[in-house]
C-alpha cells in the first residue's frame, strides 16, 4: 500500500510541471485570440470629456508579422490623411500638410486625449512584455507582465484574463515608478468572422486625466496578407489605398 501511495505521489510530483501555467505561452494565446498576426481593421476612437462632450476619430489600420503596423485617419476632416507607421520601437507620423514623415515616440499622442501612440499602434503584448507571474483567480488568471526594454510605453502591466477563449478583461498599466497610468477595459465580445472572436470595445480611463474617458470600437477585423513595402516611409501617404 505504501508503495502504491509513493508511486502516486511521485507521479503527481513529476506531472505537476506539465500542468503549470506558462504565462508567456498564455500571453501569446491572448495575442492570437485578439487578432491574427497579419490583419486589417477599422477603429473608432472616442474621447469623452468630464462634461460629456465627445471627439471621434476613425482609423484604418493594417498589421503584419510581429512588429509592423500602419494606420491612417479617415475622419474627422482635421485629421484626415494623417498616417502612422510602426516597425518595432520605431514610430513615424505623416501629416499631409507637413508632407514628410517625422519620428515620434510611443508616449506621445497623435490625437491628443488619453490614448497615446502606443495604444493606437499596439503590437503583440508578447513581443513587448515577459510574464513574470501568473495568479489564479475565481474567474481566470492575472498575468503580471514586465516590459522587455525601457523603450516600451508602460513598464508593467497587470492583465486579467478570463474565460475559455483566453481574452483579456482588464489591463492596468504602470510606469516604472509604480504609478498607475491608465486602466484598459475590454468589453462586448463579438464574432468578426473568419474565426476572430474578440472584444469589440476597449474603454480606457486614467488617473492622470480625471473624469476623462476614451473608447475604442473595432470593426471589420479580418486577416489580410500584405507586402512588406506597405510598411515603409515612402508608402505612408498611400496607406488609405489599401482599403477595398
Amino acid at each position: 500500500m505504501k508503495k502504491i501511495l509513493l508511486i502516486v505521489f511521485m507521479s503527481l510530483c513529476i506531472s505537476a510541471p506539465a500542468f503549470a501555467l506558462d504565462g508567456n505561452e498564455m500571453l501569446k494565446k491572448v495575442d492570437r485570440n485578439l487578432n491574427p498576426e497579419s490583419y486589417e481593421m477599422y477603429r473608432k476612437l472616442i474621447d469623452i470629456e468630464p462634461d460629456g462632450s465627445k471627439k471621434e476619430f476613425v482609423m484604418y489600420a493594417v498589421k503584419k508579422d510581429k512588429e509592423k503596423m500602419a494606420s491612417v485617419f479617415l475622419s474627422p476632416a482635421s485629421e484626415k490623411g494623417r498616417s502612422t507607421l510602426r516597425i518595432g520601437e520605431n514610430m513615424w507620423l505623416y501629416i499631409p500638410n507637413v508632407g514628410k514623415p517625422i519620428r515620434i515616440t510611443s508616449l506621445q499622442s497623435v490625437t491628443g486625449g488619453v490614448f497615446n501612440n502606443s495604444d493606437i499602434m499596439r503590437l503583440d503584448y508578447s513581443l513587448e512584455y515577459n510574464c513574470e507571474k501568473v495568479e489564479a483567480t475565481d474567474k481566470g488568471h492575472i498575468l503580471h507582465l514586465k516590459a522587455k526594454t525601457n523603450t516600451v510605453a508602460y513598464d508593467r502591466l497587470k492583465m486579467w484574463v478570463y474565460g475559455k477563449r483566453l481574452l483579456p478583461d482588464k489591463i492596468e498599466c504602470f510606469a516604472s515608478s509604480g504609478m498607475l497610468i491608465k486602466t484598459i477595459y475590454y468589453k462586448k465580445v463579438k464574432d468578426f468572422g473568419g474565426g476572430i472572436v474578440r472584444p469589440a470595445v476597449i474603454e480606457t480611463d486614467s488617473p492622470l486625466y480625471k473624469g476623462y474617458k476614451s473608447i475604442m470600437i473595432f470593426a471589420k477585423v479580418k486577416a489580410k496578407d500584405l507586402p512588406d513595402e506597405v510598411f515603409t516611409l515612402n508608402y505612408m501617404s498611400k496607406v488609405e489605398g489599401l482599403r477595398q
Binding site: G52, R103, Y212
Partner: protein, 442 residues
C-alpha cells in the same frame, strides 16, 4: 472698423478658449450613447477636404529700423500694420483602379491699408499617380517633394520652395515634376531601400523660378532603413542650376529622444554681395549647409525641438553691415537731397538677396511645447526662439493652439524681435507681431 473687428476676433477666441463654456450641460459618461456604426468603412473613389481660416495679423512698426526707412522713407501715418486674411484651402482626389488624380488649391483674400482688398490664388499641387503596386509608384504633375529631417530648416530639400520659419508646418507650393518611388523591403540589417528619381523640366511656361532657359533638372533620393536609422542620400543636377548633393539621417536614441541631421554641398554657388556704395560683386564657391537637431519628450509631456543650422550660402556679419550701411547712407541721401538712387539700389538688392529669412550663416532654433497642461485636452501652449549666432539677434514667439470642438482650431501667437542696430532682427520692419486665427476643417 479694424479695431472693432480685431476686438470681436479676440472676444470670440477667448470665449471659445475657455473650456466648458459651450458645453455647460452636465453629462455623465455612463449615460452617453455610443454610435457603433462606422460609416467611413465604406470606401469611396473620391475624397474632398477643405480648410477655411480667418486670421488677423498686427505688426508694430519699428520706425527707427533700417528696413522701415528703406520701405517708408517718408514715414508712415500708422505705427501699426493690420491685415485680415480669409483663406480657403481645398483638396480632392479621385481614384479609378491604379490611377489617382489629386489636387490642392489655395485661395487667399486679404485686406490691409497698403493694398486694400487683394487676393492670391494658386494651385499648390495637381498631379496624376499610377499605383500598380505598393513597391512602385509614378507621379506626374505639380507636386511638393519635402526632403530632409530638420523641423525649421531643410538644406537637403532640393526640390522644395523654402519653408516659412515662422510656420514650418505650412503647406508649400510644388513644382512640375515627374517622379516616383521604387521600394524594396528585406529581412536582415537593411530593412528597406527606396529610390525616388525626379525629373523637373524648366521652360518659360513651367518651373520658370528655376530659370528662363529650356533645361531639364535631374535629381534623386535613395532611402535606407537599417539599424533602426533612417538615412537618405540625394542629389540635383542640371545645365543651368548649381549642382548639389546631400545626406540626412534620423534615429531614436531612446523612446523619447530623437536625433536628426542634414548636410548638403552646393557646387559653384554664386553669392551676390554689395559693398557700402552699392557695387555688386559675385563670389563663386562650394557652399556647405548643414543642420543638427534633437526632439526630446519629457515625462511631463513637454517636447523640445532644438536645431542648429549652418547656412553656408548666407552672409557674414561684415557683409550684412555693408548692406545696412548702404541703406542708411541711401536714406540720409534721400533726406538731404531727395535722391532715391542708393535707397532704390538697396531695395533692389533687398528683394533679390538680402531681405529674406535666415539670410546669415549660423542659427539656433528652439521650440518648447507642453501637451495639454492643467488637464485641458487639445490645448497646447508653446514658445519658439530663433537666434542668429552671428549678430546675437533673434525672436521669441509664445503661442497657443486649442481645438475645443472637432474640426475647429484656434491659434494665437505673438512674436517679439530682439536685436541691436545693424543686426538682422534688430533692423526688421516691425518689432512685434500678433497673429490670431480660427481654422475650420470640413
Amino acid at each position: 472698423m479694424k479695431l472693432s473687428l480685431c476686438t470681436l476676433f479676440y472676444l470670440i477666441f477667448i470665449y471659445i478658449s475657455i473650456p466648458g463654456f459651450i458645453y455647460a450641460e452636465d453629462k455623465s459618461s455612463e449615460t452617453i450613447d455610443f454610435d457603433f456604426e462606422i460609416p467611413e468603412v465604406e470606401k469611396k473613389p473620391y475624397s474632398f477636404n477643405a480648410e477655411f481660416k480667418i486670421s488677423e495679423t498686427i505688426k508694430g512698426f519699428d520706425e527707427d529700423s533700417l528696413l522701415f526707412q528703406q520701405r517708408y522713407p517718408n514715414g508712415n501715418d500708422d505705427d501699426t500694420f493690420y491685415q485680415t486674411d480669409l483663406n480657403l484651402k481645398v483638396e480632392g482626389s479621385y481614384q479609378v483602379s491604379i490611377v489617382k488624380l489629386y489636387a490642392r488649391l489655395n485661395g487667399d483674400l486679404y485686406y490691409n491699408d497698403d493694398e486694400d482688398w487683394e487676393n492670391d490664388r494658386r494651385t499648390e499641387e495637381a498631379y496624376i499617380s499610377f499605383l500598380p503596386g505598393p513597391s512602385i509608384t509614378l507621379d506626374a504633375g505639380k507636386k511638393v517633394l519635402k526632403w530632409g529631417k530638420g523641423y525649421a530648416w531643410n538644406p537637403t530639400a532640393f526640390f522644395s520652395r523654402p519653408k516659412d520659419i515662422e510656420d514650418p508646418d505650412a503647406t508649400l507650393e510644388g513644382y512640375y515634376v515627374v517622379t516616383g518611388d521604387l521600394i524594396k523591403s528585406m529581412d536582415g540589417v537593411l530593412k528597406t531601400i527606396a529610390l525616388t528619381p525626379v525629373i523637373l523640366p524648366v521652360s518659360r511656361h513651367i518651373n520658370d523660378e528655376w530659370g528662363m532657359e529650356r533645361d531639364t533638372i535631374w535629381g534623386g533620393k535613395i532611402y535606407f532603413f537599417a539599424f533602426d536609422t533612417d538615412l537618405d542620400i540625394m542629389f540635383l543636377s542640371g545645365e543651368e542650376v548649381e549642382d548639389r548633393f546631400g545626406i540626412d539621417f534620423s534615429k531614436n536614441i531612446s523612446a523619447n529622444f530623437e536625433i536628426h541631421g542634414e548636410a548638403a554641398i552646393v557646387l559653384d554657388h554664386v553669392k551676390y554681395i554689395t559693398d557700402q556704395q552699392g557695387n555688386l560683386t559675385e563670389k563663386k564657391y562650394d557652399a556647405i549647409n548643414f543642420l543638427l537637431g534633437i526632439r526630446y519628450l519629457t515625462s511631463h509631456d513637454t517636447t523640445y525641438i532644438f536645431e542648429y543650422f549652418r547656412n553656408g550660402q548666407g552672409y557674414s556679419s561684415d557683409e550684412m553691415e555693408d548692406y545696412f550701411t548702404l541703406i542708411e547712407d541711401g536714406y540720409q541721401d534721400y533726406i538731404s537731397s531727395g535722391s532715391m538712387a542708393d535707397l532704390g539700389t538697396s531695395r533692389q538688392y533687398g528683394s533679390q538677396f538680402y531681405n529674406q529669412q535666415t539670410v546669415m550663416k549660423d542659427y539656433l532654433y528652439l521650440k518648447v511645447s507642453q501637451k495639454e497642461p492643467f488637464d485641458i485636452l487639445y490645448f497646447t501652449p508653446s514658445v519658439v526662439c530663433i537666434y542668429n549666432i552671428n549678430d546675437k539677434s533673434g525672436s521669441i514667439t509664445p503661442q497657443i493652439t486649442y481645438t475645443p470642438i472637432t474640426n475647429l482650431e484656434l491659434e494665437l501667437k505673438a512674436t517679439f524681435l530682439l536685436g541691436k542696430d545693424y543686426t538682422e532682427f534688430g533692423e526688421k520692419l516691425n518689432d512685434y507681431k500678433v497673429y490670431a486665427a480660427v481654422k475650420y476643417y470640413f
